[in-house]
């Protein structure tokens, strides 16, 4: 039976939330934080409300659309046993390490690609080609070459993230107003100084956009790798959790897994990229917000 109140209650608070958000006074940091957190929560609540409604109307059988409550139970179960922290730790620390390595590899690569025409003509298209190879294609090859261990997983992550970050940096550098490197040149900047003092900071907004995409690639690739390659040697991450859920065709567990992966993505965006982006754009007088 539909319970109109569960639907109505969030709807009301949504209205209030929207009003609150529209008040024009700028009360600074705290407000902004509130807004950054409250707004997506409201949006999520709406999604869940729609889901609950659809479920309660039973348009689809339970095994196609599980109840939000079932999914919630799956999540609380692994939170209760504490397993979830292991999954998160295994996956997130691996993704972060992979991302940092990618960053260290992709940044000089991107600079070379952007600034040395021959390198760009020769390996630019190959980098883009690499980027379009799905991680699932690499996993078996990486496992065959490196064995079922972290090396294989990092290989897959790097193959996803490096081209993406490098391409982002190239795009960022391409968009630099040409006057800025010219200024650098007449001020006496050499190749290295130009990169460090002019190109990288000038390309920062585009570079950050590339980093965001690169993070998405590395997190996705990691999940794909974890989904496909399972072994006790690899620890038990979110990907494996999802893998098991799929193997058991347990839809509520699948959705719980997807939600966990999704929340990590949202969390990284809110905690890392959003503030970084804001700071960079702000300091240059750019950006909508």
């Amino acid at each position: 039976m539909p319970r109109p109140d569960t639907v109505a209650a969030p709807a009301d608070s949504v209205g209030a939330g929207l009003d609150a958000l529209d008040t024009p006074v700028a009360a600074g940091r705290q407000r902004r934080l509130l807004r950054a957190v409250v707004a997506p929560v409201i949006a999520l609540t709406l999604v869940v409300a729609v889901w609950q409604f659809l479920w309660s109307r039973a348009y689809w059988p339970e095994y196609q659309l599980p109840a939000p409550l079932d999914v919630w139970r799956q999540i609380t179960r692994i939170v209760g046993t504490g397993e979830v922290w292991e999954f998160l730790w295994v996956s997130v620390h691996r993704a972060v390490i992979g991302f940092l390595i990618s960053l260290a590899v992709a940044t000089p690569l991107g600079l070379l690609l952007a600034k040395v025409p021959l390198v760009r003509a020769a390996i630019g298209p190959l980098i883009s080609g690499l980027q379009s190879l799905p991680s699932v294609a690499w996993v078996p090859a990486a496992v065959l070459w490196f064995g079922l261990n972290d090396a294989a997983i990092y290989t897959v992550v790097l193959l996803g993230a490096v081209p993406s970050i490098a391409n982002g940096l190239v795009a960022g550098i391409d968009q630099i107003p040409p006057i800025l490197p010219r200024v650098g040149k007449v001020l006496g900047a050499g190749r290295f100084d130009t990169a460090r003092h002019i190109l990288l900071p000038a390309a920062l907004p585009g570079y950050l956009a590339g980093l965001k995409q690169g993070w998405a690639f590395s997190w996705r690739s990691l999940m794909a790798a974890e989904l496909i390659a399972t072994s006790p040697a690899l620890g038990f991450g979110l990907g494996q959790y999802l893998h098991n859920a799929m193997a058991l065709s347990d839809m509520s567990m699948v959705i719980a897994g997807i939600l966990l992966i999704f929340f990590v993505g949202v969390g990284i965006e809110l905690l890392v990229f959003r503030p970084l982006e804001r700071a960079v754009l702000r300091s240059r007088g750019l950006g909508a917000l």
Partner: protein, 329 residues
């Protein structure tokens, strides 16, 4: 709380809608799905189905095939007994019905030659194709029964990957269906530690069965019977022409995957399996309990309504062959 909805076909007998326009049939490109492969290669299904278009759909893991069943994009399918039970359980017994068997046997625990007895497995890793698949449950049950559980680690890996890892020496033991068990033995020097047949009465246990979507069965019983006729025809043909059956399977494999199996592998793999229309329903309560023992399910599946062998027995009767036992009902 939720609105209670039951589909028309669930409420009671529905008018027979005649033959379906098309039949989407799932199967694996595996030797354990030999009846399906022979039926496709030799056209037994198509002949019997007549005007109904046959849409053969290839899978490589049971979970995706279960998703396809539950999502309504598959009408019938050859599938391992583990995922078959899972599909029934996950849909609270609503989505699928077991209508016939296909293969029995054809799964072995193979190891490196230095492992002589089950006790040597202690402290090692044993690989199965996927969590909750037929071999995974079998292995875990066996481990529990031999008291090895907790001392042996079980991990899941795609059989193709397992083959490569075994050759490289990363994996020392695996419980695999055919043709992978044979490939490991013949191409990678593995030895057989245990044949699953040894664990079952009469050496017979359902490896692959034929599942039909419940709604499809209710609406198009005619089509399902035609499919079963095709299955029986394939089976009889294979029994009469064993050598040609192997060739047919291998041809179909080559067409589906781009490459045939080597002669010795297909010979050995075929030796381990039996094509049988009998789903061996008596084994299912055991399998359901095994799933619990293996830690895949929390409680045994209620098997009421799982097997519906009326169509099969009708066809068998028409051929003058003995009916199969339907112990579940």
């Amino acid at each position: 709380t939720r609105v209670q909805r039951t589909e028309a076909w669930e409420r009671g007998p529905v008018p027979d809608r005649g033959p379906a326009a098309e039949l989407r049939l799932g199967f694996f490109p595996n030797v354990t799905h030999a009846s399906a492969l022979i039926g496709l290669e030799k056209g037994f299904f198509a002949d019997e189905l007549g005007a109904t278009t046959l849409v053969p759909t290839k899978f490589t893991d049971g979970a995706t095939e279960v998703s396809a069943f539950l999502g309504g994009s598959l009408d019938a399918g050859f599938i391992g007994s583990g995922p078959a039970l899972n599909a029934f359980a996950k849909s609270d017994g609503r989505a699928v019905r077991l209508v016939a068997g296909a293969t029995s046997g054809g799964a072995q625990l193979v190891t490196t030659p230095d492992i002589d007895s089950p006790d040597d497995l202690a402290g090692r890793v044993v690989v199965t194709p996927a969590l909750g698949n037929t071999q995974d449950i079998a292995l875990k049950t066996w481990l529990a029964e031999t008291g090895l559980d907790g001392r042996v680690e079980v991990t899941n890996r795609d059989p193709a990957q397992t083959f490569a890892a075994f050759t490289k020496g990363e994996v020392q033991a695996a419980w695999l269906p055919e043709p992978w068990a044979s490939r490991l033995v013949l191409d990678a020097g593995a030895r057989v530690l245990l044949d699953e047949a040894a664990l079952w009465p009469g050496g017979r246990f359902p490896t692959t069965v034929l599942l039909v979507r419940a709604q499809f069965l209710a609406e198009h019983p005619q089509t399902v019977r035609a499919l079963l006729r095709g299955l029986l025809a394939a089976e009889s043909w294979a029994a009469e022409h064993p050598a040609e059956a192997r060739t047919a399977v291998n041809d179909q494999l080559a067409e589906l995957t781009g490459k045939p199996l080597s002669r010795p592998v297909i010979e050995r793999a075929f030796a381990g399996i039996q094509l049988s229309h009998d789903p061996i329903v008596t084994a299912f309560p055991e399998l359901a309990r095994d799933a619990v023992t293996a830690g895949i399910a929390l409680r045994p599946v209620d098997l009421a309504g799982f097997a519906d062998l009326t169509a099969l027995n009708t066809e068998l009767a028409a051929l003058g062959r003995p009916a199969v036992r339907d112990a579940l009902n």
